[in-house]
Structure formats: structure tokens, C-alpha cells
């Protein structure tokens, strides 16, 4: 068979090119005006322009001239890191081009996303070994972080918004993490035993699955709202509950709704995990003289674990996003900034809420991935479970 070109890095090249050909950033005098749109080439100047062109040539060399191997992968990884650096550098340069105004700022425009996307594609394609990914991450983030910490990035819109409300930001961040964390923990504490029970006894299993299924069809936003009325009534009726801070709006309905919402993936996966244990393993376990308890702890649970952990992973990642919606019923969290931003038509403020939200979601997802690799026996097949 004819050897094929390694086409994936070419896709990265197109993405990167988009950053240079499409509007990369808008230079604005304040938060709301439409600014001056500049593309990557206009921002780059001779130095960064050269870097960009060299990187593109490097990738092309890798694709057409090099043999597949660790050298080529290293080249792709390096190109990915450079793409990321370029993103930060271009933003900073845009900041230096600002001329004046009440609160001058640089807002990312559509072309901004090209370089980070190219960076993702290249690094994903060069993937090899876990610890290398960590080194790569540090190498990638450190210069950008130093640049921003050194004050060179203060003109970037998100930082403008951030410095205007630092204290509030961290408060809401903590509220957010606490809220989704508590919801996931409660859902796990409830959901795993429920799942085990449901797989032991059909009479419990059917109504439990029907209930968690039904909850999932109610939109998260609506679930928050639906819990407001009964909780408000309870709080009116029982002063003790009111004293405990349980009211129609705020953290209590949010926590309950988030927990209910997180139940489904956990219960479902626990049931599926236990159902996936082959009869022959159970037969063998009993035949060797295990008691029901020993069979559960030594055979069934460890074999169900990949499913259960995947359920926890799905539930946690969803909960991060759903918690943002909880701001609508006064539970606080990063959603506050998103909804304020939407209300004030201020995209920069939206970004201030959305960027940490996405980072938390990705971090939570990756942490579960890490724990799954640690806790699940390597003898088990993880195929068919989402990565």
C-alpha cells in the first residue's frame, strides 16, 4: 500500500492560518463599543511573523520530509507549544497597540481561536506518554503565565474585568466549586448504594431507574425552579429549616437539584457495571468458596469499578456546567458573571465566567481519567467506556 501523508498536522496548519487571516482581536476604548479588528499578521510584526512562518515550515517538513517516529512527534509537540505562545504574544502585542480611551482593552475575536485549536491538534497528535504531557503543559503555560503576571496582559479584556472584581471572582469561584463538589459527593453517596440495591432486586431496580430517568428529562434550569416552590413552603412551615438556611432560593434548592441530576449517570453506570460481570466469574467465585460478601468485594465490585467511575466522571463534568445555571436561583457561583455579562451585553464579563468554568470542567474530567487509570485494574478492558 502507498504510504499516506500524515494529514492531521495539515489540519492544524489551516487552523493556525485562520488566526492570521481572520480578525484575531478587537482593540476597544471601553467595554461596549465595537473596536478595531486586526488579524494575526497585522498584530505579529516582523519577529512573531517570522516565528509563525518558521513554525509552519517546520510542520510541513515533518509531514513531507520526515519519517514517522519520536523525532517527528517531538517536532509536532514543539510546534504546538509555539502556537500557544504565539497566541499569548499576539494578545500582548495587541495590548501594546492600544492608543487610549477610558478603559482600553483587547477582546479576542473569531480568529483568536485558530492558534489554540492548532496547538491542541498538534499536541494531541504528538501524544506519547503521560509525564511528557505534563512537561509539555508546563512548558506551554509558563511563559504565558509569566507574561500575564508581569502585567503585560492587563489590557486583555478578561483581565480588565477580573481586576475590577477580584474579590467577588474568587468568592464565586469557591461557591461554585463547593456547590458542585457537594452535589457530586451527595449523589455518589446516594447513587452507588442505590445502584447496587437496584441491581440486586428488580422490585427496587425498576422504580429507581424510572425515577432517575424521569429526572433527567426535566431541564436542569426547570428543576431548579420546580424545587423553589416546595422548599419555600417547607421553609415557611418549619422555622427550624429556615434557621438552617433552607429557603426557596439559594443553595438548598440548587444543591438538591444538582444532586438529583447527578444521580442518573451514577445509578445507571453502577447497575450497568454490576450487570457486566460475566456469569462465569460469579460461578467461579462461588465455586472457589467465596461468601456473597467476598464475592462482591473481591469480584463484582472491582469489575464494576470502571463503569462506576465513568459514571462519576460524567456526573461531575455535567455538574460543573449545571452549577452555572444555579446562579439563576440565587445560588451564586460562576454563573453570576455569565448571566450578568449576558444581561449587560458584555462579552468580556461572560468570558470571565466561562473560562474558569471550562477549565474546571476539563480539569475535573482529566482528574477522573487519572483516577480511573490508577484505580481500575489494568487487566480490565476499558473499551466501550468513554475515554
Amino acid at each position: 500500500m502507498r504510504e499516506r501523508f500524515d494529514v492531521v498536522p495539515l489540519a492544524a496548519l489551516f487552523l493556525g492560518a485562520a488566526s492570521f487571516l481572520m480578525p484575531f482581536a478587537a482593540l476597544k476604548e471601553n467595554r461596549v463599543v465595537d473596536g478595531l479588528l486586526l488579524n494575526g499578521f497585522q498584530l505579529a510584526g516582523p519577529l512573531y511573523g517570522t516565528v509563525a512562518v518558521l513554525t509552519a515550515f517546520g510542520v510541513l517538513t515533518g509531514v513531507f520530509l520526515m519519517k514517522n517516529g519520536s523525532r517527528r512527534r517531538l517536532l509536532y509537540a514543539a510546534a504546538g507549544v509555539v502556537c500557544f505562545w504565539l497566541t499569548a504574544a499576539l494578545l500582548v502585542r495587541a495590548g501594546m497597540m492600544l492608543t487610549g480611551g477610558a478603559a482600553p482593552r483587547v477582546s479576542p475575536a473569531i480568529g483568536f481561536w485558530g492558534l489554540p485549536a492548532a496547538s491542541y491538534v498538534l499536541i494531541d497528535h504528538s501524544k506519547k506518554g503521560r509525564w511528557r504531557m505534563w512537561i509539555l503543559l508546563v512548558v506551554m503555560l509558563l511563559p504565558a503565565a509569566l507574561l500575564l503576571a508581569g502585567g503585560r496582559g492587563e489590557a486583555i479584556s478578561v483581565f480588565r474585568e477580573w481586576s475590577a472584581r477580584k474579590g467577588r471572582f474568587f468568592d464565586e469561584l469557591i461557591v461554585h466549586i463547593r456547590l458542585f463538589g457537594m452535589a457530586v459527593i451527595s449523589a455518589a453517596v446516594l447513587g452507588i448504594p442505590l445502584g447496587i440495591l437496584a441491581s440486586r432486586d428488580k422490585r427496587i431496580g425498576e422504580p429507581v431507574t424510572a425515577f432517575v430517568d424521569a429526572v433527567q428529562t426535566i431541564p436542569s434550569m426547570a428543576l431548579f425552579g420546580l424545587l423553589m416552590a416546595p422548599l419555600a413552603a417547607l421553609s415557611r412551615t418549619f422555622p427550624l429549616l429556615r434557621a438552617m438556611g433552607i429557603r426557596g432560593i439559594g443553595a438548598a434548592p440548587a444543591l438538591i437539584a444538582l444532586t438529583l441530576y447527578a444521580l442518573l449517570p451514577i445509578v445507571r453506570n453502577t447497575v450497568a457495571g454490576l450487570a457486566s460481570v460475566p456469569l462465569s466469574a460469579i460461578d467461579a467465585g462461588l465455586g472457589l468458596g467465596m461468601s456473597q460478601r467476598q464475592l462482591f468485594y473481591r469480584v463484582e465490585w472491582p469489575m464494576a469499578l470502571p463503569h462506576v467511575l465513568t459514571g462519576l466522571r460524567t456526573a461531575s463534568v455535567q455538574a460543573v456546567g449545571n452549577t452555572a445555571v444555579a446562579a439563576l436561583i440565587g445560588a451564586g457561583g460562576l454563573g453570576i458573571m455569565i448571566f450578568q455579562g449576558l444581561g449587560q451585553a458584555a462579552p468580556d464579563l461572560i468570558l470571565l465566567g466561562v473560562i474558569p468554568l471550562i477549565l474546571i470542567a476539563v480539569a475535573v474530567d482529566r482528574s477522573w481519567g487519572f483516577m480511573i487509570r490508577r484505580w481500575v485494574s489494568p487487566g480490565l478492558d476499558m473499551k466501550g467506556l468513554s475515554a
Binding site: P278, A284, G287, L380
Partner: protein, 327 residues
Amino acid sequence: MTLEWQNACKTFTDKKAVDNLSLEVSEGELLVLIGPSGCGKTTSLKMINRLVQPDSGAVFVNGRDVSEVPATELRRHIGYVIQQVGLFPHMSVADNVAAVPRLLKWEKDRIDDRVKELLNLVGLPADEFADAWPSRLSGGEAQRVGVARALAADPPILLMDEPFGAVDPLTREVLQREFLRIQSTLGKTVVFVTHDLDEAIRLGDRIAVMNEGRLAAVAAPGELLLNADPFIRDFTGEDRALRRLARLSVGAAIGEATPITAAGFSGGGESGAPAGSVRTDATLKEALSMMLEAGETSLEAVSPAGRRIGKLTMEDLLESAAGTEAS
């Protein structure tokens, strides 16, 4: 250890799986349970380690009714091997083998030693296989681990449910031979379920044939092949005379008792013997084949060392095929 089913019956929702089974297995005997699929072999076997509770009748181990022994206690002293192997995929090979010793709370060093010893016994070098994951093993290797796991706590009784049913014929023959070797040193009381007649004849001290939940016959392999019962005749097949010859050695047919050597399983006849002669440790089936091949009605019988012993004639073969068990 002896085993006994006494009028054991088991019905699954209006289907009689085992119907009034009465059978004894003596100490150190290898009893093969054979019969068509669905005839109740597995159910009968599981009555011994109480994975199945008989509706009526009883099962005795060493004279003791098993229903009086706590199930887990009982099972830890009965080895159990199944066709699907049932290795625990989340445990390494070593941990699988160590399962029962751990249940019995052996000390760690003792378990480690035992695991090594067993893996080597079943022909899987411990250095290479102890840390392997079951999903990486071939069918034959997995089944060896299954046997090692069953033998781990040195149980006096071994129950094997079509243990070699899922491996290819060549591997099966190797596993059978090795199992015979292991059994000859360990001398367990074994109940071995199979639906493969050749396997039954090769391994069994006695063969119990089941049909539709009932015991149709129980006999030593040679006798079984002479049994005139229509079902047994049918079950043992058109070529049962050949099977009979396959169980007898040339030496036995000419009055010089010689065991069939391990090599005799796979055509030891050709090895070393000059043309027109056959070794006394070859099977009569092989001798017949050589006669047909050479177009002769007689062959020189020579000892494995090459010494001439006598003459094997077609009459000897006819007599042996029709006659009584000689070995």
C-alpha cells in the same frame, strides 16, 4: 475422599435436569460424566459443591451429607474448573491462583511459594506468567491457570466441567496428557465432565453416561465400548471397535503386558521400529493402521529397546477388538 450421589433429583421449572442419580466415586478415582448436551452433567456436578441443591436425594463427600457442611467451607476444599475458565480479569494470574489460599487466610510467603509451584506444575513458568493479565492469555494458557487455581489449596477433590472444551484439538490433547501426568502424581478424586468420547476414554478410570437426566451406564472405558445397550452403542459410535483398539497396547495383545507410553498417544508406533515391525508400547489402532498401510496381515513386535518379542497378527487384533478388556 469418596463421593456419592444418592437418588439425587433436580427439576428446573418442569424440566427434569437430573433424575434419580445414584453413583459412587472411590478415593483417587477419575470418573468421567459424559452425555449429550443438556443431559444434566453440569447440574449433577454442581450438586457436589452445593452450587445446586438437589430437590430430593443427597450427595455425600467422604460419607458426610454435603448439605450439613457450610457451602463456602465445603467449596474451599473442592477444586472447581469450568469451561469458560472464569478467571477474574481484574486480577493477575498469580492473584487468580492465590484466590482460595487467601480465602483460607494462608500466610503471604506460603501463598507465594504455592503459586510458583502450581504455575510450574501446570507448565506456565512462574517468572513469565505470574504477573500477566488473564486477557493476554491464550485459551490453553487460561485453562492451565484455571486448573492451577482449582488445585491451589490442595483440595482432595477436583470437579472439572468440560475444562478443555473451548480449546483447539491439538492444545486439548496436550492439556489432557499433562493433566494425566499431574493426576498420576496427585491422585485426586476427580469428577470430569465432557461431551467428547475420546477424551472420556483417554482420561477416565470409569465413565458414567447420562441421558436426559438419568444414568444410562457406568463402566470402565473398555467395557463401555462393548456395552450392547442401544443408546450406548449409538453414543459410542460406528468406530467404537477402533476406539477399543486405541486403548490396548501391542504388548498386551501378544501376552506381554506393556503400558501404552505417553508418546503412544500420538503415534509412537513409527518411532525407531524398523519396517514391518511395531513397538510393543504402540496401540493396536496404530498397529492396524500400519498393517493396512503395508498390506500385511502380520507385524513383528519389538520392545521399545528394539528387541524382537513376537509376532502380532490380524487374528490377535480381531480377538482384542471383540474380546474382553486386557489391560
